[in-house]
Amino acid sequence: MALAPDTAIEENSDVNPSSGGFSVHLSNFDGPFDLLLQLISRHKMDVTEVALSLVTDEFISFIRELEASGAGWNLDQATEFLVVAATLLDLKAARLLPSGEVEDEEDLALLEARDLLFARLLQYRAFKEIAATFGERILAADKSFPRVVALDPALAALLPEVLIGVGPQRFAAIAERVLTPKVSPVVAVEHLHMPLVSVMEESKRVVEALRHSTSLSFRNLVSDADSTMVVVARFLALLDLYRQGVLRFDQVLALGELHIRWIGSLEGEVEITDEFDIPVVLEMDDSTESGENV
């Protein structure tokens, strides 16, 4: 079970970085660990001996509330919470079942999932406590002001001529570097949200549909397709099946309705190639302007 949230997903562009405001602040918590920790401490329970079912129910209901509040959340926020919720539910389910053999592999897996979740929670709690110390320390340090005085003119007169140590060009290069805003590099992952369509998967659906109806129009065959990619994938699947001689095409008029008739066996495996599903690596085009990265 993958417990770690997908950390590669980027924030929404409308999030103001100064607010640190990526997190869910609707109920004064900051991420799933924070919520879980709050729920546990509300019941005054030790992290290591938590009555899971109660906390799980509250955790789930919090997620429901967030959802219902209409504030909405984006994919990675939701994922982070759902991963923890799923783990909790799993653990609760395991508790509800009569516990027989402990040596069951699934039991062991659940045990590990729980240990891992609590280990992470303990770690989070430790850093949360340290963060409070940091806040106090910064506050204390801010109350003490350093003595920073300019050198007395009489003493300054003793100093040798100052050496800047670089020429004008190097000086300009330093200015450029310093004046460039410190923006951490980002990896765009928007394209990952487009679901990949597998020709092999679509082939299976096409075969199933044709075996069921014997004859279908292409229009019918793609009527449930939710994207152009699926239409293309099914068309490619048809071409492949045609090559194997398991179907016939009928088209009375050019550009008219295309009918497909199944002539292969009604049972058994149909060989489906994966030649369309092999990833194609394209050379990256570096000539595009990187643009102003503010």
């Binding site: 950390t7 990526f22 900051d30 991420g31 280990a119 989070y124 340290i130 940091f134 340090a141 350093p146």
Partner: protein
């Protein structure tokens, strides 16, 4: 030069500096062994207990600071109060970086359970955190705290960070498990 003279000389020097002074520099200038300088600084530090100022070693160097108890009076003079508060999220992220440095953003995210990109940017912009090379295997950018971080926390070095909670599970072991999950 007597002990008292060393102490007076140090006081005289610290009165004109614009940056913290290390024991080594004082030892060189006064031509005394460093142990003697350390002892003198320690004596001086204690001798200001009933004063409106203190002598502190922060980030490796010594200098005079106003006593925290009288900050209200000083603040009226120091108008440059641009120290805006860090958010809770920023503090938590900063604490993870401080104890795990050098550390990648993904690792910090995994520990905090949320995406920390925006917070990291704030910390970098504020000068509290800086880049520190790349992680060998993944090529991810690593981050560490700055000397300005030590100054803001009033710490002399990273070794002076308070100990993490003693009941914390072995972190290195946990990291390995987490890595195997996130890979």
């Amino acid at each position: 030069m007597s002990n008292v003279e060393v102490e007076r000389s140090i006081e005289a020097i610290l009165m004109v500096v614009d940056e913290p002074v290390t024991e080594l520099v004082l030892a060189q200038v006064l031509e005394r062994p460093i142990e003697e300088i350390e002892a003198a600084l320690s004596t001086l530090e204690g001798s200001y207990e009933e004063r409106g100022f203190v002598l502190r070693k922060i980030n490796g160097g010594w200098r005079f600071y106003s006593h925290p108890a009288y900050s209200a009076a000083v603040e009226k003079f120091v108008l440059d109060g641009q120290q805006s508060r860090l958010t809770q999220a920023a503090l938590e992220t900063l604490s993870v970086i401080a104890y795990r440095q050098p550390v990648s953003r993904a690792r910090v995210s995994a520990i905090r359970g949320v995406n920390v990109e925006a917070v990291m940017k704030t910390l970098v912009t504020r000068g509290l955190v800086e880049e520190s090379g790349l992680e060998h295997e993944t090529g991810a950018i690593l981050y560490k705290t700055t000397s300005y971080f030590l100054e803001r926390l009033g710490l002399n070095s990273l070794e002076d960070l308070p100990a993490l909670a003693p009941y914390l599970p072995d972190l290195d072991g946990l990291d390995e498990i987490l890595d195997s999950l996130t890979d």
